[in-house]
C-alpha cells in the first residue's frame, strides 16, 4: 500500500459567494463535473446535511458512495470521504476549500485529498483523481459558472426592466376581462389595460391562476349591486408579487400568493390587491389548486363556524359536484359526517361518490327529494343543509332538517327573494342562515388560518380538488360551461406563461 496525497488548485473567475453557492451543495456534481453522470443523495437529504451520503455514477460507469463529513459556510470548506467504490482507493479523505481573491473579485479553489492505494495502481489512481476528477472538475466548474453568470445577467436585465417598470406611479401593461353592459357570456371582452403601481398597503401581482365563482356570473349579468359597470369580475386568484406598496409587512417580491377579496377584478393578467387579502402559498399546493381559496375557505367556514359540525352528523350539499360542493363533501367526509348531495346527472353522481359523497341523488327527473332524504336518514332528517339553488327547494330543505337543524343559504344564483315562515322554524328549533364568507373574515388572521387549513388538506391529499382550466382569453367559454351546468369541480382561468 502507498500513501497518496493530492493537491490541486485553481482560480475561478467569479466572486466567492457565487462559487460557494454551487460547491456547497454536495449533490451538485452532476450539474458541472464532466466526469459525473449522476448524483443522488440517499434518503433524499439536502446537499448540505453533514453526514449525508451521495451516490455518484461516473461517465465511465464507476459507482461511488461518498459521505459529507464537515461543511462550513463560514470557512467556505467541506470535507468528505469515500464509503464504497469499485476503485482500490482506501481511506480517501478530501477537502474542498475556497478563499476570496480580493484583488479582482475572483476565487481561489483548492481540492486536496489523501488516500491509500496498492503500490502498482497508485500512480494510475493519482493521475485519475488529480487530473480527471479535480482538474477536469475545475474546467467544468469554470464553464458552469460562466454560463450561470450569463443566464443571471440576462435575468438581471429582465429584473432591472421589471423594477424599472415598477417605479412608484409606473403603470404596467396588462390584459383584463371587461364587462361593459350586463348580459350573457359573450359580454366578457378582453382588453389591453394599464395597471397602476400599488397604493399603500397593496401589492401588485402577476396572476397565474384565477378561479371562477358563481358570483362572477351574477356580476356579469348585472344582478349584483356590489359590481359596478364597466368592471372586471373575479374574486380570487393566485400569482406572483411583482411589486409592493408602502406599509406592507410580511410579503416579499417574488412571493407566490393566493388571495380572495370582496373587490372584484381578478380576471386580468396583472392587478393590485390589498396585502391583507394575500396568503403566501406552501409547497405541495399548485397554483391552480390554491386559486380555489375562496371555495375552500367557504367550506371551512360552513363546517367549523356556521354549522359547528361534529363527527357523526349528517350534511346535505346541493350541487355537490360543483366548485364549493366537491371540496365540502371531501372535507365533511374527512370529519366523519354522512354526506348526501344533489347532482343533475349520473356522471356527476359518480364523480361525487368518488369525492366523499355517500349518497349522491340525481334530481334531474321528477324525483321526490324530500322522500329520498328521509329514506336515507331513516326519517330523522339532516343536521346541516347547504342550499345554493335559490328559492327553489328551500321548502324541501326545511322539511328535511332534523331537530335543531341548520340550513345555510349560499350562492343564491338568481337573486330572487325567498320568503321564510318563522313559525315553521319554531316547530323544530331550526336555523336558516345566509352566510357571506367575507363577513366572517374581518380578522385577517382568521382568514389565513382557514386558508392554511384548506391548503393542509390539499397537501395531505385529504382534499383533491377537481379543476377544469381555460386560458383567460377563453373566459366566455368557461362561463358558458358553468351556465350549461356541464362542469364538475371548479373552473379556473390560467394566465401568463
Amino acid at each position: 500500500m502507498m500513501r497518496v496525497s493530492i493537491i490541486r488548485s485553481t482560480v475561478i473567475d467569479a466572486p466567492i459567494d457565487q462559487v460557494w453557492a454551487v460547491l456547497r451543495d454536495f449533490n451538485s456534481h452532476d450539474r458541472w463535473h464532466p466526469a459525473v453522470a449522476r448524483s443522488q443523495m440517499e434518503n433524499d437529504l439536502d446537499g448540505d446535511v453533514v453526514g449525508g451520503v451521495r451516490r455518484l455514477s461516473l461517465t465511465d460507469g464507476t459507482e461511488l458512495r461518498e459521505q459529507l463529513l464537515s461543511h462550513s459556510d463560514r470557512e467556505y470548506t467541506l470535507t468528505y470521504c469515500i464509503l464504497d467504490s469499485s476503485l482500490p482507493l482506501f481511506d480517501y479523505l478530501a477537502t474542498v476549500r475556497l478563499k476570496p481573491v480580493t484583488d479582482g473579485k475572483k476565487t481561489f479553489l483548492e481540492w486536496r485529498s489523501q488516500f491509500r492505494a496498492p503500490d502498482d495502481s497508485a500512480p494510475k489512481l493519482e493521475e485519475l483523481v488529480g487530473r480527471q476528477v479535480y482538474e477536469a472538475g475545475f474546467t467544468g466548474l469554470q464553464k458552469f459558472i460562466a454560463e450561470q453568470r450569463e443566464l443571471s445577467r440576462s435575468a438581471t436585465l429582465d429584473e432591472t426592466m421589471a423594477v424599472a417598470a415598477a417605479l412608484p406611479g409606473e403603470h404596467l401593461p396588462s390584459t383584463a376581462v371587461i364587462v361593459e353592459t350586463p348580459g350573457g357570456p359573450d359580454v366578457l371582452s378582453i382588453r389591453n389595460v394599464t395597471v397602476p403601481a400599488p397604493e399603500s398597503q397593496q401589492v401588485r401581482i402577476r396572476h397565474t391562476a384565477i378561479a371562477v365563482n358563481y358570483i362572477d356570473l351574477k356580476h356579469r349579468r348585472g344582478i349584483s349591486s356590489a359590481f359596478n359597470l364597466p368592471g372586471t369580475p373575479g374574486m380570487e386568484g393566485v400569482g406572483e408579487i411583482i411589486d409592493i406598496g408602502e406599509q406592507v409587512n410580511g410579503l416579499f417580491l417574488g412571493d407566490r400568493i393566493a388571495y380572495m377579496s370582496r373587490i372584484p377584478g381578478a380576471y386580468a393578467d396583472i392587478r393590485c390587491i390589498e396585502a391583507d387579502a394575500c396568503t403566501p402559498l406552501p409547497d405541495g399546493v399548485s397554483d391552480i389548486e390554491a386559486a380555489m381559496m375562496l371555495k375552500g375557505v367557504t367550506a371551512a367556514l360552513l363546517l367549523s363556524r356556521v354549522f359547528r359540525a361534529a363527527p357523526g352528523g349528517t350534511i346535505l350539499i346541493e350541487a355537490v359536484a360543483g366548485g364549493v360542493g366537491h371540496l365540502l363533501s371531501q372535507w365533511a367526509k374527512a370529519m366523519d359526517l354522512t354526506v348526501i348531495g344533489t347532482v343533475s346527472t349520473d356522471a356527476k353522481a359518480k364523480f361525487s361518490r368518488d369525492r366523499g359523497c355517500d349518497y349522491p341523488i340525481v334530481v334531474a327527473d321528477n324525483i321526490h327529494l324530500a322522500a329520498e332524504v328521509m329514506r336515507i336518514t331513516n326519517g330523522r332528517g339532516v343536521d346541516h343543509w347547504v342550499h345554493s339553488s335559490g328559492a327553489h327547494w328551500l321548502d324541501t330543505a326545511i322539511t328535511c332538517l332534523a331537530r335543531c337543524g341548520h340550513c345555510a343559504v349560499i350562492g343564491g344564483r338568481d337573486g330572487q327573494s325567498i320568503p321564510i315562515d318563522v313559525n315553521v322554524l319554531k316547530q323544530r328549533s331550526l336555523t336558516v342562515s345566509a352566510p357571506v364568507c367575507f363577513d366572517y373574515l374581518d380578522d385577517r388572521s382568521y382568514l389565513h388560518r382557514l386558508a392554511h387549513q384548506f391548503f393542509a388538506k390539499i397537501q395531505a391529499r385529504i382534499i383533491i380538488p377537481a379543476v377544469e382550466t381555460f386560458p383567460l382569453s377563453q373566459v366566455s367559454e368557461a362561463h358558458n360551461r358553468i351556465e350549461s351546468r356541464q362542469t364538475m369541480g371548479a373552473v379556473v382561468l390560467t394566465s401568463g406563461r
Binding site: I7, T10, V11, P100, T102, G104, F108
Partner: protein
Amino acid sequence: MVKVYRSTVLDAPAERVWRDLRDFNGLANWHPSIASSRIEKGHPSDKVGCVRNFQLKDGAQVREKLLSLSDYDYTYTYSILDSPMDLSNYVATVRLLPITEGNRCFIEWSAEFDCAPEKVAELAKTVGDGVFQTGFDALKKRHGQ
C-alpha cells in the same frame, strides 16, 4: 476587533514568491512604502521572536515582532510593537498557497486589531489598501506582471 483581509494571485511559482516573503527583513526590498529595515539585536530574520525595525518613506518608525514562521505552510505571523498608527493588538498573517493550475500562487494577507470606533474605516483602509494591496501590486510588478 477590526479585521482586514486582502488576497491576490501572482503569476509566479509559490516557492519563488516565498523566497521574497519569508525574509522578515526583506520588506524594504520590494514594498514601496518602506525606506529601510533592520532586525534588532543582530538576530537572523527567520528567528521566531525577532523584531524588525523599519523606517517608512514618510519618516515614521515601525517595530514588528515575528510570532511564527512556517516554510512548510508558507505562512508567517507578526505583531506591531510600535507604529504611528493609532491601533493596538495588531496581529497579521501572510499566507501563500500554490495554484497548481498554471503554476501560480495565491497570497492572502490579513490582520486583526483594536482601535477607536471612529478610526475603524480609516485604519482598515490604510492597512488593507496602503500596506497590503500596495505590497501585492509591488510583488506583481517584481514577478513580471
